[in-house]
């Protein structure tokens, strides 16, 4: 249980879980004291991202952690994207032996930053034998789903910056929808951290978000502009992943450097 000296505690779920989309995953639960929060992969104006990494036996392969849609905390001066209370992270099983054994020996390393007024760094290495008799994961929070077929998304390149344009049907996201940028190395939104509200036309919520690409900060050969469209404000309202591959300029655009 979390305490004043350890305000966030991580625990490995005893069984594999099936997510809402039917996929199989290892689950890690983080519980916090009231009013404390941990951070999403883009923590916002401050904070530090929660990180999870799993080690499994040969024959098993685990994909990138799936984090539930973040809550937006703080003031306009200090926006934080993360979670309070209890939050479940899913580590999707992308390969497993057939037939599956009854249990799997799992080790998950979790790192987080937990803040109220002050902040603490936390970490845990969670090891255990997890039953493969999967149980459904309770849908307390929504997990982002791909936006491929539901939204129109494009990038427009300009002389000094590019623009991410998202058009989401109102029937899907509602007028209060927000776009929250995710961690995108080398990509910087001109208007800051967000979240960004949409404007609406008759049928859609629309975002036009200017961003710059800094080739010096792009990790590897590819850059992506990434984020979530959050439909509604509740933790179990739907969220949609935007991930758009970018052409990385070889030379810095004129006018960007001081």
């Amino acid at each position: 249980m979390p305490s004043a000296s350890v305000p966030a505690v991580a625990k490995l779920a005893p069984t594999l879980v099936t997510a809402a989309d039917g996929s199989l995953a290892i689950a890690v639960d983080l519980a916090m004291l009231p009013h404390w929060h941990i951070y999403w992969s883009n923590p916002g104006d401050s904070g530090g991202a929660t990180k999870l990494e799993a080690v499994c036996p040969p024959g098993w392969k685990v994909g990138a952690p799936r984090m539930p849609r973040p809550e937006v905390h703080g003031s306009s001066e200090d926006r934080a994207f993360g979670w309070e209370g209890e939050v479940r992270f899913l580590l999707p099983i992308v390969e497993h032996p057939e037939p599956m054994p009854a249990t799997i020996a799992v080790s998950v390393k979790a790192e987080w930053m937990v803040c109220r007024e002050s902040c603490l760094l936390g970490s845990a290495t969670l090891t255990g034998s997890v039953s493969t008799a999967a149980v459904p994961s309770p849908p307390a929070r929504a997990y982002p789903e791909p936006a491929h077929s539901t939204m129109r998304v494009r990038v427009e390149e300009g002389a000094t910056h590019s623009t991410l344009v998202i058009e989401a049907p109102k029937s899907l996201v509602g007028e209060g929808a927000l776009f929250v940028p995710d961690d995108s190395p080398g990509v910087r939104f001109v208007d800051g951290t967000g979240p960004f509200a949409a404007t609406t036309n008759e049928t859609a919520c629309v975002w036009e978000l200017e961003f710059e690409i800094d080739p010096a900060l792009v990790a590897g050969a590819q850059a992506r502009v990434r984020g979530l469209v959050l439909a509604g404000a509740k933790i179990n309202d739907r969220a949609f992943e935007i991930s758009q591959l970018l052409r990385v300029p070889k030379v810095r655009d004129a006018g960007k450097a001081p």
Binding site: S46, M113, S118, L121, R152, R154, R188, N201, E212
Partner: protein, 256 residues
């Protein structure tokens, strides 16, 4: 101007339906003209000065300092009572690091920027790159946070720096005016001002893996008269616990 642009953008709203393209995250963006494409998510050239249709940022946050623009002037006293102004440092590269002795990312503990010895390495590299460069820390934490006075916070800040064998001024900004003027969000958060008083770099001191020292990169570039690249990086750390902003002054009626 920004507001005007946004309003204009709203008035000029145009339906996206005529050229919206379904997302396909598997294809890279390139710069082919739109007319050459039948579909996909390729980028389309655009005029950046075209009125934007409807970009809206949640209202509230000021932008703070901006790269390429004059750095906000300041007058602050250090823990030992010495007064520092940006004006008096004109002609020198100035590194401002927002700092907290209690934050586990800044200077609170062995894994922090200061506690790990990374700050000392950066300080040495900055001095080697430009002996005239000035490195200052700024503490914008409000008075009384977690029961600690500004005076105590200053003493603890100085002690944390001294513990690393360094002597760097700690400027106290308990009312948060300077931190807000710069848009400092975290500890650490770095702002580098060039010799002309222009902001040249905003962001983290180092890359997450510690492999790239952005501060020394910037100081070295400025010394050589070259552009600072990168000029922005993503800062991370504890949020600065600012004092509540002072109430706006009552508007004075114009003389009649």
């Amino acid at each position: 101007m920004k507001l005007a642009t946004t309003l204009l953008a709203g008035l000029l709203a145009i339906s996206l339906a005529s050229h919206g393209i379904a997302q396909d995250a598997s294809k890279p963006v390139d710069s082919k003209p739109a007319s050459a494409e039948k579909g996909g998510d390729e980028a389309k050239p655009r005029q950046n000065d075209r009125p934007r249709r409807n970009r809206v940022r949640e209202a509230g946050a000021s932008r703070g300092a901006e790269v390429g623009k004059p750095a906000p002037e300041f007058t602050l006293k250090s823990v030992d009572g010495t007064e520092y102004t940006l004006a008096m440092l004109k002609g020198k590269t100035v590194v401002l690091e927002w700092f907290s002795p209690y934050c586990p990312v800044s200077a609170g503990g062995d894994g922090s920027y200061w506690g790990s010895g990374n700050a000392s390495k950066v300080l040495a590299a900055v001095k080697a790159a430009d002996a005239d460069a000035v490195y200052l820390t700024v503490n914008s934490t409000k008075d009384g946070l977690d029961g600690k006075s500004t005076e105590q916070n200053g003493i603890d800040s100085t002690a944390a720096i001294k513990a690393q064998g360094q002597s760097v001024p700690v400027l106290l900004d308990a009312d948060g005016k300077v931190g807000r003027a710069y848009g400092a969000k975290t500890t650490p958060h770095i702002f580098i001002v060039d010799a002309r008083g222009t902001v040249a770099y905003i962001g983290a001191p180092m890359s997450d893996d510690g492999a790239t020292d952005y501060v020394t990169n910037a100081v070295t570039a400025l010394k050589a008269g070259k552009p600072v690249e990168p000029s922005h990086t993503k800062n991370k750390g504890c949020s600065i616990k600012y004092a509540a902003p002072a109430s706006p002054e009552t508007p004075v009626a114009p003389a009649t």
